[in-house]
């Protein structure tokens, strides 16, 4: 009796599970990847160390300047490499990771201004080929949120007067601060958040739903913990739209960014 009742209960339970599973599959299939970036970005920018050649498979290059100043790389190597790519008609971005172990906020302001001046003076048509800076800002790098806001305001002030496309991305750690702080730090930048974990993914989607900042140059890393080591998985879980440059500069395609431990 109890066996029979138990058997009947298991059957009912199994039937419920099958029903729930079919419903879940139907919802997933009909709704599609509701959270996916749309349209799916197909153009990639990729890191290289200063002095290295254009990365294979990339559509644009990110010159990875690291912390610079009292660390690596030198300002001259970063700006020379940036100008070299631009003058070879390559779409180019210059990345800096500001950190207190390498210099002060004031020294980072001087660094960015110096690189900007060098590129504007020495590159051919930087307004077309240089998308500007990519700043990697993270709480673990030793600067407070207000210090980073100061640096970002400064960056906006020096870049707003450059001709053409040139502006700045923030390749930030989106889950490193409470959402309102992350939103403030982003300022008027082009967000390029690292999406290496579910927590980072959630922060990016919350920024979109809460503050309407829904256009992201997703930064993908093949070395991230699974399942975020899959590009298709990552892009299919970020809401909103991918970054796209004005068509007169970098064409009409949509972009994502690839971090490489180069």
């Amino acid at each position: 009796m109890s066996k029979s009742a138990s058997g009947t209960g298991r059957l009912r339970s199994s039937a419920r599970l099958v029903t729930v599973a079919i419903a879940a599959i139907a919802v997933a299939c009909l709704a599609g990847p509701a959270g996916a970036q749309s349209p799916t970005p197909t153009l990639q920018m990729k890191d290289v160390a200063p002095g290295h050649s254009f990365p294979s498979g990339a559509n644009a290059v990110v010159v990875e300047g690291l912390g610079s100043l009292n660390c690596l790389y030198s300002q001259s190597s970063i700006q020379t490499s940036t100008v070299s790519f631009i003058n070879n008609v390559r779409k180019t971005v210059t990345e800096i990771s500001p950190q207190s172990g390498c210099g002060s906020i004031g020294s980072y302001e001087s660094l960015l201004n110096g690189i900007k001046n060098y590129v504007e003076a020495n590159a051919n048509n930087p307004g077309t080929y240089w998308a500007g800076f990519m700043l990697d800002e993270e709480p673990g790098f030793g600067f407070s949120a207000s210090q980073l806001e100061t640096l970002n305001n400064y960056t906006e002030n020096i870049m707003v007067n450059t001709p053409g496309l040139s502006w700045y991305f923030q390749e930030d750690q989106p889950n490193g601060w409470v959402l309102s702080t992350y939103n403030t730090i982003l300022g008027f930048s082009w967000p390029a958040p690292q999406v290496y974990t579910g927590s980072m993914n959630s922060a990016v989607n919350s920024e979109c739903s809460t503050y309407g900042n829904c256009t992201n140059l997703v930064t993908f890393w093949a070395g991230a913990p699974a399942p975020y080591n899959s590009l298709s998985y990552t892009l299919s879980h970020v809401n909103g739209a991918p970054w796209s440059a004005a068509s007169s500069y970098w064409g009409s395609g949509y972009w994502y960014n690839v971090f490489v431990a180069a």
């Binding site: 690596l72 950190q99 172990g101 993270e138 790098f141 690292q194 974990t197 913990p225 431990a261």
Partner: protein, 159 residues
């Protein structure tokens, strides 16, 4: 007459021989130059660790400076220590190739690797780099971010 001809022939041979010797000597000297500067002697070498963060990971660079122009070759060993013992990191210690020609008095990055992910205590950590008979130790300026406690920390060479 005959003696004079022989004398002229002799002097021509001498000139040709001298030219051949000079050419061979020049080639030998040129060959010596193309061999490059000598290997850096540890006694004339200064090493330093340059570490910093980007994208949540730690870049660990080995910077070298020498008093004279010289060539670095071979490999260096990078070890992350915690409380004096080897830290629990996959790939620790890491052996990385060292290469480059050093100009007198100028610092240069000669090797680097990456430390990725660290979810344990961030106290009492140090980086030790060994090259030939030299050893340099430094406290890390940046310790990698903990993105996933389920993923082991790892030390990897640059791609």
């Amino acid at each position: 007459m005959r003696t004079q001809r022989e004398g002229r022939r002799y002097s021509k041979c001498t000139v040709v021989a001298a030219l051949v010797v000079a050419a061979v000597g020049s080639q030998a000297a040129s060959g010596a130059r193309s061999a490059g500067p000598p290997v850096c002697e540890p006694v004339a070498l200064h090493l330093a660790v340059s570490d910093q963060g980007t994208s949540g990971s730690a870049f660990i660079g080995l910077v070298a400076r020498a008093r004279v122009r010289c060539t670095l070759a071979g490999s260096a060993q990078v070890t992350i220590l915690q409380r004096g013992g080897r830290a629990s990191i996959k790939g620790n210690p890491l052996t990385i190739a060292v290469r480059g020609v050093l100009a007198p008095g100028k610092s240069r990055l000669v090797a680097h690797g990456w430390w990725i992910g660290w979810c344990k205590s961030r106290k009492a950590l140090s980086i030790v780099v060994r090259y030939r008979t030299l050893s340099v130790r430094a406290a890390p300026k940046y310790v990698p971010r903990c993105d996933s406690a389920a993923t082991p920390s790892r030390l990897v060479p640059a791609r």
